[in-house]
Structure formats: structure tokens, C-alpha cells
Symmetry: C2
Subunit: 196 residues, 2 copies
DNA sequence: CGCAGATTTGTTAGTAACTATCAGCATGGT
DNA sequence: ACCATGCTGATAGTTACTAACAAATCTGCG
């Protein structure tokens, strides 16, 4: 008996999702994003176009989907509360990135390369980063009603995430040869003049 | 120097462009972005859809187009070179925003409100901010070949722009009642712990 | 096991953003 | 006046995405 709480339905759903993303990234890399249609991806994954849309709302989501937000929020909660805000946010992001590189390096690199070279994906990548910003701010603002404090938290979070983005892009442009966490810490340090 | 010898063609082109944007923003605010078609906008402006596409590559550009990048680059060049990088970038952005508010307040507010309430526009807004980042980095990196220095400049620029974005959104959410330059300086100060 | 209810999937038909192409027209320098 | 150049419009696509319905599949319960 399988002890996983995931029902057969849930497991198959997750499976289909991963299959779709894998085939999509492979095809996009091989033929180009624009030259590959939703039908191509659906066919390669062995499902109908309609089913694909039930798993990914847009073509872009095929490349953009990941679990970054949730993991960052968790890493954030694990930070020492005495540290300054900037450090907590920055370190949580660096840790999440380190984990991601260790588990999914090749897929992550492929996805980032697609995001860099495809204008439509570049725009949506920034948008997904904004979603991360919201997740971080929500975590940090739990129980806060002071709009002024929330404003300061949001400003700091946005700055950290933007810096992290620069490091991510640089990492992908160098095809992952440099160490991502190190790059991120360097970027944070030069933006804030503080150690991370 | 760009000669002010705007030919009749150029003037009419700019005129058509402005007319299209004005009608577009008006219709989007009245009926909603998604519920308004390109044809609606073209018809309201008295041109064909094909002509509209020759002025704006995408529906989103109808809302997003402005001259922010160029003005920011100019303001940046006018900063005192002795100041730290962060201050130069931050102040250039604040100055540009101040000018924009003085000349085009209502249109700017309407455009921002649309960007906030329309997911597709929100994503592209972040992307257009990224274009500003590139413009700023290009200005600051003129003559630089050191990739490390460029990396630091990019990190700092990204951080400043992200913070400015937070202030911009906050300003629009408050319907422009607060002073935008002040909001921006507050956001910069709380993110960097430095005066701007 | 078998049945009822919920979830997932496929099919079809449609909307609207965007592109390519070609032909007609205004414009600006000679 | 005249020709090259660029602006405009009509037409006919392609493709991402949605709505609606019908068929297949899973889950939980008796």
C-alpha cells in the first residue's frame, strides 16, 4: 500500500503536469518558443490541447511554473528574527536558489535560457517574480496593520528580489558555470553595501 | 541633438499616436481592458486596425507607451558624478517622475490604474521597467568593459527601479493624493537606509 | 461488487490578437 | 509637375485562448 496521501487522481495530475512541462521546454529549446504551437506540445505529451489548458492557463506558464514562492516563504520563516529585514529576505532567497540548483539544475537552466531569449517569457518572468514579492510581503506582514510599515517592507522586498533577478540572469547567461548563491550574495552586497 | 524640424509627416504621426493612446485609455477605463477590442479603439480614433498596429505593436503598448526611458537617461547624465551610484540613480528617477506628474498627471494616473487592475498590463509594466533598467545601465556603463563593474551597476539599478515601482503603485492606489517624489524618496530611504 | 457523484478529458465551434501581402494614396524634395 | 518614399487600408490568414456539452474515469459508500 502506498503511504502517500496523494490520491491516484492527484498523482496522475502532477505527473501529467510534469510531462507537459518537460515536453514543452524540450520542444521550445529545439524549435523555438514562437515556432512551437500549443498543439505541438499537447501532441508530444499525448493529450489534447484542451487538457493542456486545464493544467497551464497560458503557453507561458509551461515555462514559468515552479514552486519558488512557497519555498521562499518557508525559508523566510526559518530566518532568525533578530536580523535586519534585508538580510532575512536576501538569505531566504539565496537558500531557496541553492536548493533549486541542487535538485533541478538542468531544467532550471533551460527555463531561464528560454526566459532570456523570448520577449514574451521575459515579461512574464518579471511578473512571476512579482508574485514572489507578494508572497514574501504577505509572510512578513502577517499581523501587521500599519500601512507605513507595510510600505517599508514592500520596498525592501522589491529591492532584494530585483537584485536576485540580476544574479539569476547573469548565472544563466554564463550557462551555470558560476556558483549561483555566490553570485546572488555578490549582487546583494554591491547593491546594499552590506554583507549577506 | 535631435533637430526640431518635425516634418508634417512626423507631426501627424505623433498626433495619431497620441490620439490612439488617449482613446484607448478612455475606452479601457470605461468598458474594461479585455472587453474593449483593438477594432473599438481604431474605430474611435478614426483609423483602421491595421494602422493602429503600425503605431503600437501590441494592445498593451497602447497603455504602456511613454518617454520615461529617454528622460531618465537625460536626468541621469545631469547628476553630479561625485555622488554615490545609488543616489544618482534614485534622484534621476525621482526627478523624472516629478516632471511627468507636472505635465501629464491625469493620463499617468489612468494608465497606472489600468496597469494595476489588468493582469496582462501589470506583467508588461514590469517589463517596460526592465527596459528602463537597460537604458539606465547603458548610460552608466558607457565606456566600461569591466563585466564585474557592470554587474554591480546593474544590481544597484535594478534595486532602485524596483523600489521606485513600489512607490509608483502606492501613489496610484492612493489616487495621486500623496506627493509622488516624496513617496519615492521614502521608499528609497527605507530600502537603503540612506537619504535621497 | 456496484452504483451515485465528482473530476478529468476530448470535441467542436467560436472570439480576438496579431501577421503578411498587395495595392492605393499622401508627402516632400527636385 | 514628378517620382521615390513612406503611410494607409482591405483581405485572408495563423494561433492562443474560451465556452459548452458529452464521454470516460476515479472515489467513496452501502
Amino acid at each position: 500500500m502506498i503511504a502517500e496521501t496523494a490520491s491516484l487522481r492527484e498523482r496522475r495530475r502532477a505527473e501529467t503536469r510534469r510531462t507537459l512541462q518537460t515536453h514543452a521546454v524540450r520542444l521550445f529549446m529545439a524549435r523555438g518558443y514562437d515556432a512551437t504551437t500549443i498543439n505541438d506540445v499537447a501532441e508530444a505529451a499525448g493529450v489534447s490541447a484542451m487538457t493542456l489548458y486545464r493544467h497551464f492557463a497560458t503557453k507561458e506558464d509551461l515555462v514559468l511554473y515552479d514552486e519558488f514562492d512557497r519555498e521562499t516563504a518557508a525559508a523566510l520563516a526559518a530566518q532568525q528574527q533578530e536580523e535586519p529585514l534585508r538580510q532575512r529576505i536576501g538569505r531566504a532567497l539565496v537558500q531557496t536558489a541553492a536548493t533549486a540548483v541542487n535538485s533541478d539544475r538542468d531544467l532550471l537552466l533551460a527555463r531561464l535560457n528560454l526566459m532570456i531569449s523570448t520577449p514574451a517569457l521575459q515579461a512574464r518572468h518579471l511578473d512571476s517574480q512579482y508574485a514572489t514579492e507578494i508572497a514574501v510581503v504577505d509572510t512578513l506582514c502577517a499581523g501587521t496593520t500599519d500601512p507605513d510599515l507595510e510600505f517599508r517592507i514592500r520596498s525592501t522586498t522589491a529591492a532584494c528580489l530585483a537584485v536576485i533577478h540580476v544574479a539569476l540572469i547573469r548565472w544563466a547567461e554564463g550557462d551555470g558555470r558560476q556558483d549561483l548563491p555566490t553570485l546572488m550574495r555578490q549582487a546583494l552586497t554591491s547593491a546594499f553595501d552590506t554583507a549577506f
